[in-house]
């Protein structure tokens, strides 16, 4: 059995001095926060040595050893924004870490280590010895087995996660002893560990607490009593992402493995989290983390309120809801709000998706021609769009994983990204689209005006960018009209193949194989061929149709299948690179600008926050840094 502690995503890890060290048992005594020391002195909490596992996770602070205390103030916009606060402290078994300006990696978090077999079918995890839930109860494989036997699955409160499936079969989870368990797949699952770093699968649930709400452990009467104690209709409402008992964001009593636990849960104008006294990490000097005592999230309705709070200095550290268009406003108020705008690099690319299988067959045929797509691409002046819409801060590019992603293809992101009106006209003329109507727009082969309807979802996009594209395309004789719809309606239309050209960012690029639908045309809101995508997904949609013979999409599908079942992650990455190369020949979409800066408002009193990292949902946004080593300067 080949054992790899950490599957490297990139072979070069720069010596940045910011990487997290994985040391053995530190040879020093542990320190703790004053607020906990008080409780220890009062006898309501055990000593810090008893609270920490035998080998705590050692986190190297970015700049310096911090001081304890303080409240980290940020804001959220309601129940649907629950991911924002949670991403600061997800109780993960493995976590992403940034290892250099353009490299990241994955590390064990509450596991002390894990091993992968050579065929990527077996993954063995070791729980840190002495690891405890936030109520002090030890974490064992019983909690893992409880999660997979009683929490998720067909007859359980929550469905079986797709992460724990490969092909048609489900993974088998078995515990060797109290601290060791193994996940076994029938087929190779080379991306399992990486996906574990981002999917919402926590791998363990506190059995000692949650079993009292489970029908396998208690009587119907007790369940009913529990439901009414939590003020919900039935015991089922206690479970799941927003379950009143299970969710660590709603229930102050549920034991968790996150650095902070909720103290004042929603619904409340101010949601407050407080440090977990049993958190399993220390800094390089043996101080138990986190440094910060509390995190408060203030509820806001209108984003302008948040902008005012920024200017007032009421936000300590936050990226969520900070729009890049407000950059000048944020910059100009830096001194009044005593903060600094810290820029991370986003990995999304604003993209138009010409639907090659749109019900308008004339347009579908045009979109299928590489020359037509090239004309659409080179007719756009991406620099101007970047300058006007993104204040010159983003990168004009073709859509593909931007630099900083695990799998990157330079050719793809540069393809057809230049501005060349003559070339566009030449290509369109070459396609025989020479006749014009009274307004100077080209005519399609069937004699109608060549008009592209762009559908975009409200709030999701910048109308300004689309209006500029409208202008660029009319310069080469293509008429466009905008169809601005609400988000759910957009999805409805996409799922019914009613869109001629969609507008939606290409996202989750940090490790595109995890969510490769954009490249396989199977992610419907990123689909450049909805009917072909549905054919591949085989969900019984009536409009699904097989792509023409010898179309490159067949190669993409088969390569993707091979990548997802490759023996190792390295092989998968190599196959992924092949997929990007296939698209680089003649991109199926119109990427506009991407890698826009993601703005963090960081107050001057917040310490240990680095600049210039990548921000992506895959790598858990801010969660790529250990938030527990942030501190409030005195």
């Amino acid at each position: 059995m080949r054992t790899t502690q950490v599957p490297r995503l990139r072979t070069i890890a720069l010596p940045m001095g910011i990487a997290l060290a994985l040391l053995g048992t530190p040879a020093f005594s542990f320190e703790e926060a004053p607020m906990l020391a008080e409780r220890v002195a009062a006898g309501t909490l055990p000593n810090v040595d008893e609270r920490l596992p035998k080998t705590p996770r050692v986190v190297t602070p970015y700049d310096e050893i911090g001081v304890y205390g303080g409240t980290w103030r940020r804001a959220f916009t309601g129940a649907s924004d629950d991911r924002g606060p949670q991403k600061l402290m997800e109780p993960r078994i493995v976590r992403f870490v940034q290892t250099g300006p353009e490299t990241f990696d994955i590390e064990p978090a509450w596991a002390s280590s894990y091993e992968t077999n050579e065929t990527s079918t077996e993954f063995t995890f070791h729980i840190r010895e002495g690891l405890k839930w936030s109520d002090g109860h030890p974490v064992t494989t019983e909690d893992v087995m409880f999660y997979f036997e009683d929490v998720v699955g067909d007859d359980n409160p929550w469905p079986w996660p797709s992460l724990m499936e490969q092909g048609d079969s489900r993974a088998v989870i078995s515990a060797a002893d109290d601290l060791t368990f193994t996940v076994t797949f029938e087929q190779p699952s080379p991306l399992f560990i990486t996906r574990l770093g981002r999917e919402y699968v926590w791998m363990a649930s506190p059995k000692h607490y949650l079993s009292q709400f489970h029908p396998s452990y208690v009587s119907t009467d007790e369940l009913a009593a529990a439901a009414s104690a939590f003020n919900v209709e039935g015991w089922q409402d206690l479970w799941g992402r927003r379950g009143k008992a299970q969710s660590f964001w709603l229930n102050p009593d549920v034991p968790t493995l996150s650095a902070w636990t909720v103290k004042t849960p929603p619904p409340s104008e101010q949601v407050i989290f407080e440090r977990n006294p049993y958190y399993y990490a220390v800094d390089t000097e043996g101080n138990q983390l986190p440094y910060i005592d509390q995190i408060s999230h203030d509820l806001f309705q209108d984003v302008e309120t948040l902008n005012l709070w920024v200017a007032q200095g009421r936000i300590d550290l936050q990226q969520r809801h900070m729009r890049v268009g407000n950059f000048p406003f944020f910059k100009e108020n830096e001194s009044s709000g005593s903060y600094e705008v810290v820029v991370w690099n986003g990995l999304e690319v604003d993209t138009l998706w010409p639907n090659q299988t749109t019900s308008d067959t004339v347009m579908a045929e045009l979109f299928q021609q590489a020359d037509f797509r090239e004309a659409l691409n080179v007719a756009i002046d991406r620099d101007t769009i970047n300058e006007i819409v993104f204040a010159g801060l983003a990168t004009p590019m073709q859509a593909g994983p931007p630099k900083g992603s695990a799998i990157f293809n330079e050719e793809l992101v540069g393809k057809w990204a230049g501005y060349d009106v003559d070339r566009a006209n030449e290509l369109l003329d070459g396609l025989g689209l020479t006749a014009r109507d009274d307004d100077g727009f080209r005519l399609r082969p069937d004699g109608d005006t060549l008009e592209i309807v762009i559908t975009t979802a409200l709030f999701a996009s910048d109308i300004n960018m689309l209006e500029l594209i409208n202008e660029f395309w009319s310069d080469v004789g293509i008429k466009t009209s905008l169809d601005v719809v609400e988000r759910t309606l957009y999805l409805d239309r996409v799922n019914a193949n009613e869109i001629m050209m969609g507008h939606w960012p290409m996202g989750r690029a940090a490790f595109f194989l995890i969510d490769a639908g954009s490249y396989a045309a199977t992610l419907m809101d990123n689909s450049w061929a909805n009917a072909w995508g549905e054919y591949q997904l085989d969900r019984g949609k009536s409009f699904a149709v097989a792509p023409p013979k010898d179309h490159m999409i067949y190669d993409v599908w088969s390569t993707l299948d091979a990548a997802l079942t490759a023996g190792t992650q390295e092989e998968a990455i190599a196959l992924g690179a092949d997929i990007l190369a296939m698209h680089a020949k003649a991109p199926n979409w119109v990427g506009v600008v991407g890698a826009a800066p993601n703005l963090f408002i960081r107050s001057n009193r917040m310490g240990n926050f680095p600049a210039g990292f990548i921000r992506d949902d895959i790598t858990r946004d801010i969660g790529i840094i250990p938030t527990e080593q942030l501190y409030i300067k005195k």
Binding site: V232, Q301, L308
Partner: protein, 329 residues
């Protein structure tokens, strides 16, 4: 008179039922339901699992017909005062909206009183000196307040207060009091935060009150008894305050009822911009996420308040002004 009041109260019941039906119908109008919203949200997060949605759909009873859902909602409300369940926040609606409604009523009542305090003297003075400079200025200022969209005025004032005085003007409470139990300090904090919403909401309502008061007093001033009072040598301000103003106030009572829905509506946009923990923003959020029982309960309860307001003002009017009694009988 008692007969009139009893009839008036009896009418209240069918109107309530109709209001509840309309409230429920409104929230059912938009296409889709809470789960379609949830689906798109999960899709945006890359965490879409159709089985989760299928299970919730069954659990929440969304596949039942409209009247069945309405009947259940009404029955629960009548039988146990249960307003349903908020899907978004996962708590019973009744436990969620209490404080929001209370603050809405407080702010609305404060606005009403503030508007009266400003509008009545101005209206009276304008009537005593019609077409004077003061009358014109008061009228124009009043109408400018009415003509400025609340959301715009709120944002501009909010920025101005911050930019000029560095004042913290968003919300109804400072962060340290947001979760605190009620105390005198919290009440003081509330009052300190209330002036901005009062200005924004008050300016939009003052104009019509000024105009109305002015017209009413003008009417009365023409009447012979005023001349008689003057002839008796009473000082002018006594003449005006003793009779014409008192009589002119009567029609005002009838405006309580009608100004409540206006205030609630005006407060929606203002509360959103100023981040006030009131019913409006919560309702908007509920409507957008199709959290139907929450939205429906808000609409229903706000309507009930309005109906009660109208009822009270009608009854007051009957007590104060005997003519109405005769008219109705």
């Amino acid at each position: 008179m008692t007969g009139y009041i009893v009839r008036r109260i009896l009418w209240f019941i069918p109107t309530l039922l109709a209001v509840s039906l309309v409230s429920f119908a409104i929230i059912q109008l938009p296409p889709g339901d809470y789960l379609t919203v949830l689906e798109s949200q999960m899709g945006a997060e890359g965490d879409y699992n159709p089985e989760v949605v299928a299970r919730l759909r069954e659990r929440f009873g969304f596949d039942q017909p409209f009247m069945v859902q309405y009947g259940k909602w009404m029955w629960a409300m009548l039988a146990h005062g249960d307003l349903g369940y908020s899907f978004e926040w996962r708590v019973p609606v009744s436990s969620l909206i209490g404080e929001y409604l209370a603050l809405t009523v407080i702010v609305t009542a404060a606005t009403l009183i503030a508007t009266w305090l400003i509008a009545l003297p101005i209206g009276i003075y304008s009537a005593v000196r019609p077409y004077s400079i003061f009358d014109y200025i008061a009228t124009i200022l009043g109408f400018i307040g009415k003509a400025t969209p609340n959301f715009l005025l709120a944002l501009v004032l909010m920025w101005w207060a911050f930019d000029t005085f560095g004042a913290d003007v968003s919300g109804l409470f400072s962060p340290e009091y947001a979760n605190a139990p009620w105390s005198w300090a919290k009440v003081r904090d509330l009052i300190a935060h209330m002036w901005l919403p009062l200005i924004v909401l008050g300016t939009s309502g003052a104009a019509s009150l000024i105009r109305q008061m002015r017209a009413n007093v003008l009417d009365e001033l023409q009447k012979p008894y005023v001349e008689a009072a003057r002839a008796q040598g009473l000082p002018e301000w006594k003449v005006i305050l003793r009779y014409p103003v008192r009589v002119a106030l009567n029609p005002f009572l009838s405006t309580i009822g009608s100004s409540i829905p206006e205030l609630f509506s005006g407060a929606v946009t203002t509360a959103i911009v100023l981040n006030l923990p009131m019913a409006g923003p919560m309702l908007l959020r509920a409507l957008v996420s199709q959290d139907m029982y929450l939205a429906g309960s808000f609409i229903f309860l706000l309507s009930v308040f309005t109906l009660i307001g109208t009822l009270i003002s009608d009854i007051l009017l009957t007590l104060v002004d005997p003519r109405i009694r005769f008219e109705e009988s």
